[in-house]
């Protein structure tokens, strides 16, 4: 690292979690400042987490003092008070620690050139967590700008172990030149000690919560000093937290941490953890990154880890010291997860890491960046284009996409004229682009950032504090009086007021748990391959528990094991329907997309598909008639027009469009506190999407939406790989009854996705059912509980079903 610094070279330091990476990144700067302590900004540090920036600032002050350096080390985040911000601009500290969002804001200011002109070094922490995300895109564009403002500046990236170090080096590099970055790999510390914990008694066939293992998990908590219990979803965190507290006879201080709790609540938990006041915290990905607590003795992962890189990241949260092994325990929730955990442990032992190389940058982020740059100073499009392409994430950007994005920022860039008079930017006679008016900068600041929240409602205790947020659709399924678990307690739904869901402390009845859309990470390709490898090779079963071995042996007897190559498909009757189970192992997202495509084809073939379900491991489809010609159902041409048509209609694309439109500045971002103003200008992204798709399907925002969906959201690439693998190698087994391996899928909760066209069929069916039940009676009928004081006479047993219970609000779209 020092050698790279002496040579003025950029560097990427790859080291396992812990091991003083951050300090190593700063050391060259401290030495340089020791030699020549001149005023002005010398080193900029960027972290994905505000808390991390604050923590590092604290940890850096001490070594700087020990070196006898008189340095100003300051943070700048959204929390920095206005007077300090102003001072930082007029007289910047030598070392400034910040986040990608705050950096964008600083670069949009007119005096950015003065502030950053003398910058010598930028340190990017946890770069693996940023590259390939939208926040990463934003940062990449900012780095390009910094290099223009300060040509002498070198870049230092700090990363955990990754699967594609060269791609990450290019991401980190100026002009995407990986060769210009010195790759420094720290020697791995002790290998982590990972074990598996199975529940006492019967091993569950299905389920993902892992609650059966909680007594054993609790015992482990008692034995260790401090434990982080990682889970995969927020719903699971609530369930696990409840289960642990039910067992908590010793009153261990156990806390809860997930992304839907209020920031204050999360900070409180983090502070308690840092002070050593907690014995355990149940956490989701919200704690994957974070400040170094040092004293964490063990990490327990409940539920399968889904990816090796993620597992390593989590395991690394225990014992941040190079010389001691991190201790981790995996708690599989069902039989398949036992195998997945085994596969993950083997991958860690083999030193393999999974993950995709960073994807190309998004045009929505570019749109925001262009506006920010225009707010800073007038620019020439040629210059900005060159600068943007200097970021690896945008190295492949075409001039057409750039120009269209610029036009979008100017006036929407629509083929239909009319918005010219509302332009936000204008060009002078030399082709320089200027912003029009100060309100443009105000609007930019309101819209800055790439994190778009799903429509959520605050949860507020009646006459008390806000506890956090739940998604709108979950609230829509609640009736006053219903109980649900949130923020670690049972709450009773009272009413919805304009700003929040009002709750009181819980009452009677089985509470529900809010689920959050898209919060599940699909099984990684790498782990899936290892799982298939274990299944196909009985020699590897020895390390598996007896129950799992018996299960697999029974599968071999009754059907066959999924092959490493090719695709096993089982067809069997059950009830009045036929089931088709395909052992694809491509992850939940891919299976859901595939399920829609396969059922569409079955519909055309007259097989009467009734529904389907995708787990991380298999796709199950049920139909009225016995599926014939199974090869045809999995042919590669499945990914043709049908896919495009379906994807365009799918809720995934709609959600993608909403995010893109918000980041690009088409829709207003929601701001905390803003709801209080009551009637706000809201615009439904779905309606915009439908109109734009019809009238200008080639608009830049739709192109960006499609590109993003193709690049991973629908996991189309994984379906393509699967179909190619299956061609001519489908192992079809017609069985008399369900096979052992198919059981977990058949007892899995979930439901098929429904596209726009299918919705009409469902409505017709629902209405027809009611007509049938009421013999078409058209009169307006009352419901049980009618407040007029005329209870329905008991001789009308059908009375309740005549009037359909209306859902209070819809969950999707």
């Amino acid at each position: 690292m020092l050698a790279a610094a002496e040579a003025g070279q950029s560097a990427l330091l790859i080291a396992p979690t812990g091991g003083g990476k951050t300090l190593a990144g700063f050391l060259p700067s401290l030495i340089q400042l020791h030699r020549d302590n001149r005023p002005g900004l010398h080193t900029l540090y960027i972290s994905p987490l505000k808390a991390l920036a604050v923590d590092i600032a604290r940890n850096l002050t001490l070594p700087a003092q020990e070196m006898g350096l008189d340095l100003r080390i300051e943070t700048r985040t959204g929390d920095t008070p206005a007077n300090r911000r102003a001072r930082q601009r007029a007289d910047p500290p030598q070392i400034l620690l910040t986040t990608p969002e705050s950096l964008t804001l600083l670069l949009s200011l007119p005096d950015a050139a003065e502030m950053f002109g003398g910058l010598r070094c930028v340190v990017i922490d946890e770069i693996h967590a940023l590259a390939g995300t939208k926040r990463g895109d934003q940062l990449a564009l900012c780095l390009s700008r910094l290099s223009s403002l300060a040509p002498e500046m070198r870049r230092v990236g700090l990363s955990a172990t990754v699967a594609h170090p060269q791609a990450l080096a290019a991401w980190c590099a100026r002009d995407a030149d990986a060769g210009s970055v010195r790759l420094v790999r720290a020697k791995g510390g002790s290998a982590p000690a990972i074990s598996t914990l199975l529940p006492a008694g019967r091993l569950p066939w299905g389920g993902h919560m892992g609650l059966a293992s909680m007594p054993d998990v609790y015992e482990r908590l008692k034995e260790a000093g401090v434990t982080i219990v990682f889970v995969n979803t927020r719903a699971q965190s609530e369930m696990v937290f409840q289960a642990l507290w039910r067992l908590n006879d010793d009153n261990l201080p156990i806390a809860l941490h997930h992304g839907s709790l209020t920031v204050e609540q999360r900070r409180k938990v983090e502070a308690a953890m840092a002070d050593g006041r907690l014995r355990a915290v149940v956490a989701t990905a919200s704690l994957d990154l974070g400040i170094d607590w040092g004293a964490v003795d063990q990490v327990i992962q409940v539920g399968a880890p889904k990816g090796v890189a993620r597992l390593l990241q989590r395991v690394g949260r225990a014992n941040h010291r190079m010389d001691e092994a991190s201790r981790a325990i995996l708690v599989p929730a069902n039989r398949f997860e036992v195998i997945e955990c085994r596969a993950a442990i083997e991958a860690v032992a083999a030193g393999e890491v999974d993950g995709e190389p960073p994807r190309p940058g998004g045009l929505d982020v570019l749109a925001q960046h262009i506006l920010a740059m225009a707010c800073h100073a007038p620019f020439h499009p040629d210059d900005l284009f060159a600068e943007v392409r200097g970021a690896a994430a945008y190295a492949g950007l075409t001039r057409r996409d750039f120009d269209d994005t610029l036009r979008f920022v100017e006036d929407g860039g629509y083929a239909l004229s009319g918005y010219e008079r509302f332009r936000r930017l204008f060009r002078d006679s030399e082709g320089m682009v200027h912003v029009r008016g100060a309100q443009v900068a105000r609007q930019l600041r309101m819209n800055l950032g790439t994190i778009v929240d799903t429509p959520a409602l605050k949860v507020r205790m009646r006459g008390g504090p806000v506890l956090g947020e739940v998604e709108e659709w979950f609230v829509s399924t609640l009736q006053p009086g219903d109980n649900f678990i949130f923020a670690g307690q049972v709450l009773r739904y009272e009413r919805l007021d304009p700003t929040a869901v009002i709750v009181s402390r819980g009452g009677e009845g089985e509470p529900r748990v809010p689920a959050y859309a898209g919060s599940k990470l699909p099984l990684s390709t790498h782990l899936a391959m290892r799982v298939r490898g274990i299944l196909a090779d009985p020699a590897q079963w020895r390390s598996l528990p007896q129950a799992v071995r018996d299960w697999l042996a029974m599968q071999r007897l009754r059907s066959e094991l999924p092959p490493l190559e090719g695709l096993l498909v089982e067809v069997f009757p059950r009830g009045n329907r036929f089931f088709l189970v395909a052992y694809c192992f491509e992850g939940r997202l891919a299976h859901q997309t595939l399920g829609m495509l396969v059922t569409k084809r079955m519909e055309r073939l007259g097989l009467g598909p009734l529904g389907f379900l995708g787990t991380d491991y298999v796709l199950a489809v049920w139909s009225a008639f016995e599926p014939t010609d199974v090869e045809h159902l999995f042919e590669e041409d499945l990914l043709g027009e049908e896919l495009e048509e379906w994807v365009a209609e799918s809720s995934i694309l709609r959600r993608t469009f909403r995010n893109i439109a918000t980041i690009a500045g088409l829709l207003e971002k929601k701001h905390p506190g803003q709801e209080k103003s009551g009637r706000q200008m809201t615009m439904n992204a779905d309606l915009i999407y439908d109109v734009l798709r019809k009238h200008e399907p080639d608009h830049i925002l739709l192109r960006a939406t499609r590109a993003e969906a193709a690049g991973g959201l629908t996991d189309v690439a994984r379906i393509a790989t699967l179909l190619a693998r299956a061609q001519g190698r489908i192992r079809l087994r017609r069985l008399e009854k369900v096979s052992p391996l198919a059981v977990p899928a058949l007892i899995e909760e979930g439901r098929e996705w429904v596209s726009g066209t299918a919705e009409d069929a469902l409505l017709a069916e629902a209405v027809a059912l009611v007509d049938e039940a009421t013999e078409g009676e058209e009169s307006f009928t009352g419901e049980v509980g009618d407040e007029t004081g005329h209870p329905p006479p008991p001789e009308h047993p059908l009375r309740t079903s005549r009037s359909m219970a209306f859902a209070r609000r819809r969950p999707r779209r």
Binding site: L416, Q680, M683, L687, H695, A766, P811, R813
Partner: protein
């Protein structure tokens, strides 16, 4: 397209799956809440939402006019998103609209978004329009004194439970005294019929007709008195249909 007959005050009305109401006896077509030029309204404030909403809304109106050949069109208010709307209209859209109106009788019922007659467009602008037994007004009036009422304003939508979870659509909502029309505009969102302001107009429930691709899906709605009486102060605050 199959429209659903609905009888109100002894008159036969047709509810069209496109979201319009036709009264055959008077050759009258009613549509509500077009919110024309909502796109350009946002664009003027720096949010460049696609400018095709007026075009799209008019394109939806066209087949209805061809199908029913009404002598009179009644716009039930909020026809333009704001009073500046008519002036911002694209020349093409304006001529499409003029062509659609033709030499029919045109009634612009005034709404909260468009409290004045649209500039330069034919037809009369009124607060309320009385015809036969009916009163056409933008926002429904609670109670019996409202008369037999046809109104809009609230953009009603309803969710029906189905095998695969609830499906939500804009809808007509009707009882023995009134029909509330769904919003017709391309950029108009919806308000659940179980929300307080709508429930207040239908305390005894009624019947919802959800818009479908080529038919309506109707379902009875139970009494909503408890919803109507609760938290009246929310009446305006929860109305985010703009």
């Amino acid at each position: 397209m199959i429209s659903a007959p609905f009888h109100l005050a002894g008159e036969r009305l047709l509810l069209d799956p496109a979201g319009a109401l036709f009264w055959p006896a008077r050759q009258l077509l009613a549509v509500s809440d077009l919110h024309l030029e909502k796109g350009s309204h946002f664009a003027a404030r720096g949010r460049f939402v696609p400018p095709y909403d007026t075009r799209e809304t008019l394109a939806r109106l066209q087949p209805l006019l061809r199908r029913y050949s009404p002598e009179r069109i009644v716009f039930l208010g909020d026809s333009f998103h704001d009073t500046g709307g008519p002036a911002r209209m694209h020349a093409t859209d304006r001529s499409t609209l003029m062509h659609l109106l033709g030499n029919r009788l045109v009634t612009w019922v005034l709404g909260n978004h468009d409290p004045a007659a649209p500039d330069g467009l034919p037809g009369e602008a009124v607060e309320e329009f009385h015809e036969g037994p009916f009163i056409f007004r933008h926002q429904g009036v609670p109670g019996r004194e409202a008369g037999f009422e046809l109104s809009g304003h609230f953009h009603p939508k309803a969710s029906l439970p189905t095998r695969c979870g609830p499906v939500t659509r804009p809808c007509f909502l009707a009882d023995a005294r009134r029909v509330m029309l769904p919003a017709f505009g391309a950029y108009t969102g919806g308000l659940e019929i179980t929300s307080q302001p709508i429930a207040a107009l239908f305390p005894r429930g009624g019947r919802a007709f959800l818009l479908g691709r080529d038919r309506l899906y109707s379902a009875a709605v139970g009494p909503m008195k408890h919803l109507a009486s609760a938290a009246t102060r929310m009446a305006d605050a929860s109305l985010q249909v703009s």
